[in-house]
Amino acid sequence: MKRFILFILAITAMLSLPACGGDESGGEGKGLGLVIWHDKEDAVAAALQAELDTLKPDINVRLEKKNGLTEALKMVGNDPKAAPDFYFFAHDKLGVYAEMGILSPITELVDKAALGGFLPMTIEAATYKGAVYQLPIYFETLLFMYNRALMPDDEVPATTEELYSFMASGAGGKYGFIEQHSTAYYSAGWIHGFGGGIVTEDGVPLLDTPETVKALEYHGKFVERMPGESEYATVNTLFREGRAASTIGGPWLVPTARESGIDLGLAPMPVVDETGLPIAPYSGVQGLHVLKVAADNPEKNAAIREVLKLLLNPGIGAAMAKASGCAPALEACYDADDIKNDSLVMMMRQTAEKAVPMPNIPEMDVMWNVVSNLLVDINMRGRDAAEAAADAQKNAWDLIKAMK
C-alpha cells in the first residue's frame, strides 16, 4: 500500500512539473503577456521594464535574461511555444536571423515616418537587404580615453603620429597607449582609418586590399610599443592601475576607470596622418527585434505594435542610454539637458558620426575569427602583413563558401 501511495505521489509530482514553467501570459495580471529575451546588465533591464510596466494592465511585458541568447534563438526561433516575442540585442546578428526567417521587419509594425527620428547610422545598422529589422534604442562605440595624470589635456594626440611620438617618448616609464591590438573589433578602427575594411555588405572579404594591408603594417609599429597580450582583462587592468596613459575602450570601461581613481579624459579619435581619416571603430546598435512567430500571431500583433510605439518615446531612449552609459539612438533625446551635459554620451555621439556600424550580414560570423587570426599572425607571430592577409583572404572565402 505504501509503495502504491508513493507511486501515485510520484506521478502527481511529475504531472505538476509543467506548472512550474511559469505563467504563459508572460507576467502577472490578466492582460496579454509578451516576453523579451535579453542579455543586458540589471540597470538597463530595470530601466526598460519600468517603462514597459506603464502598459499594464492591458499588456504585461516580461523581460527574461537569457544566457546563450543567440544560440537559443537559432534553436527555438520559429517555435511559437518556446520562442520569445522580442529579443533585445546588438544589431550584428540580425542578418543571420533574417536569413533564417525568424525575424519580422519593424516597418510592418511601426509607422515608417517614425523611423526618420533616429540617427541615420542606427537605421543603417538595423537594415538588412533593404528591410529594417530592429527598433534601435541606444548605441555604443569605442572611445579614445586617457589618464590626465599621465597625459595632460594639451598633450592629447590629434593624429596617430603624435600618438606614436608620445608612446616613443617613454610616457614616464608607463605604456603611452594600449589597446586590444589583436582583436578584430578593436583593430577595425585602424583599418577603416586607412579606407580599408573587413567585409563588404555583399559578403566580400577585404583583407588583402592595399588599404587594409597598409593599415595592418602601420598598426604594427604601435603594437611593438604595447604589451604582447591583447586580451580584455590585461589591457583594462593596465589602464585602470595607471600603468598606461591612454587606451581605446568601450563605455563599459568608464565606470571602473573612474572607480579606480583615474582622472579620465575623453577625446576624439586620432586622425591617421597619411589619409586624413580618423580611426573609425565599429559601432554596435542595441535595440528590440520582433520574432516572426509573434508578429504573425493575430492576438499578439496589436500588443507588439503598442510596445514598439511606446519605445519611440525619447524619454525611454534617454533613460536606457543613461543606464547603459551609451548614446541614445533617437535624435530627439539629445534635446534633454542631462544628455547634452553628459560628456561621455556626447563624445560617443561625436565618435559615432565617423564610426562604422558592425556588419550585420551572416558572413561576419566567420570574419571575426579570421581577422583575429590575421592580427595574431602579424602582431604576435611577426608574419609579413601582405602574405598573412593573402592567406586570411583565402581562409575567409573558404569559410564563407562553407556557410552555404
Binding site: K74, M100, T183, E229, V376
Partner: protein, 300 residues
C-alpha cells in the same frame, strides 16, 4: 515456452526502459547528427533543409588539409604525453598515499581532489590569468623577484603546449590518483610479504606484482581518460585560442581546428559531417585498442 526462455524474455522486457533511455540520450544524437550531415541545414536553409547526399563530406574533406593533419599529429602527441604523465604521476602519488605510517592521509587526499571539485572553465581561466599572465601572473612575479625578464608563457608553440599540458594534468590527475589509489588498496598485502620473502626488491615488486595486479582495475579509467584527452577542447582553446584573447601560439587539437574551420560557419550540415568524421576517427582508435595482440589475451 520453457523456463529459461521465459527468464530471458522477462530480462529483456525489464531492460527495455533502460535501453530506451540510454538509446535516446546516447544513440539518437549520433544518428541525428549523421542525418543532419546529409542535409543542407545552414543559415540559408534553417527550417527548409533537404537531403543533399554526401556533398558535406566532400566539403569536410577540405578541412582535412595540412593544418588538420598537423592538428591530428599534435592531438596524438597531446594524448600520449598526457596519458604517460598521468599514469606515472598518479602511480607515484597513490603509492605515497598508501605508505603505511602516513598519518594525515585523508587531508592529502582531500587536497589532491580539490582541482576536480572546481569547474574546469574557472580553473583554466584562473591558470591563464593568475599564473601565466605576463603582466600580473604569479610565475612572472616570481621571475621578477629573482631579477629575471618576464616570460610570455602562452605565446610560443612549445611553451604554450607545455603550459596546456600542466593545466590538463592539474585538472585530470585527481581522477587518476583516486582510481590508482583504489586499485593499490585492492592488492592483497600477502603477495608483497611473499615477494619480500623471495627476496624481491621495491622496484621488482612494483613491476612484477603491483602493475599486473592493478592493470585490469584501472583499465576502464585509462580508456575513459584516453578519449577525454583526445577530444580535449577547452584547455587548449581557453588558454590560447579564445577569440579576443588569442596568445600567439599556433597549437590546435583536432577539435579546436574543426571549430575554427567548420563550426563557426553556422552550417550545421557541414559541421555535422566534420563531427562524424572525427567520431569515426575516435571509433577507429577504440577498435585499434581492441585488437588482440599475440601473447596478450587481455586487452584494455
Amino acid at each position: 515456452m520453457n523456463g529459461k526462455k521465459r527468464n530471458t524474455l522477462s530480462a529483456w522486457v525489464c531492460n527495455i526502459p533502460a535501453l530506451a533511455f540510454a538509446g535516446s540520450i546516447v544513440v539518437f544524437p549520433i544518428i541525428y547528427t549523421a542525418y543532419i550531415s546529409l542535409t543542407n541545414m545552414n543559415v540559408y536553409h534553417w527550417f527548409d533543409f533537404a537531403v543533399i547526399g554526401f556533398k558535406n563530406y566532400i566539403s569536410a574533406l577540405s578541412v582535412v588539409d595540412s593544418g588538420f593533419l598537423r592538428a591530428l599529429g599534435l592531438t596524438v602527441l597531446w594524448t600520449a604525453l598526457n596519458m604517460i604523465l598521468q599514469l606515472v604521476i598518479a602511480f607515484v602519488m597513490a603509492s605515497l598515499l598508501n605508505i603505511e605510517k602516513l598519518r594525515p592521509r585523508k587531508v592529502y587526499k582531500t587536497l589532491l581532489m580539490f582541482p576536480w571539485a572546481m569547474p574546469g572553465y574557472v580553473s583554466i581561466l584562473l591558470w591563464k590569468n593568475g599564473m601565466f599572465n605576463p603582466q600580473f601572473g604569479l610565475l612572472n612575479q616570481w621571475l621578477s623577484g629573482w631579477g629575471s625578464e618576464p616570460v610570455r608563457w602562452l605565446a610560443g608553440d612549445v611553451l604554450a603546449f607545455i603550459c596546456c599540458l600542466v593545466v590538463n594534468l592539474w585538472l585530470a590527475l585527481p581522477f587518476m590518483i583516486m582510481i590508482m589509489d583504489g586499485a593499490l588498496q585492492s592488492v592483497d598485502k600477502s603477495y608483497y610479504e611473499n615477494a619480500m620473502l623471495d627476496g624481491a626488491g621495491w622496484f621488482t615488486r612494483q613491476i612484477r606484482l603491483t602493475v599486473p595486479a592493478i592493470t585490469p582495475i584501472i583499465a576502464p579509467a585509462v580508456v575513459i581518460t584516453l578519449f577525454t584527452t583526445f577530444k580535449q577542447f577547452d584547455v587548449i582553446y581557453l588558454l590560447t585560442q579564445q577569440v579576443g584573447a588569442k596568445t600567439g601560439a599556433n597549437i590546435h587539437t583536432v577539435l579546436t581546428y574543426a571549430y575554427e574551420n567548420a563550426f563557426v560557419t553556422n552550417n550545421y550540415g557541414f559541421s555535422s559531417a566534420v563531427s562524424i568524421i572525427i567520431f569515426l576517427l575516435l571509433i577507429s582508435f577504440a577498435l585499434l585498442s581492441k585488437i588482440r595482440r599475440p601473447g596478450n589475451e587481455k586487452n584494455i
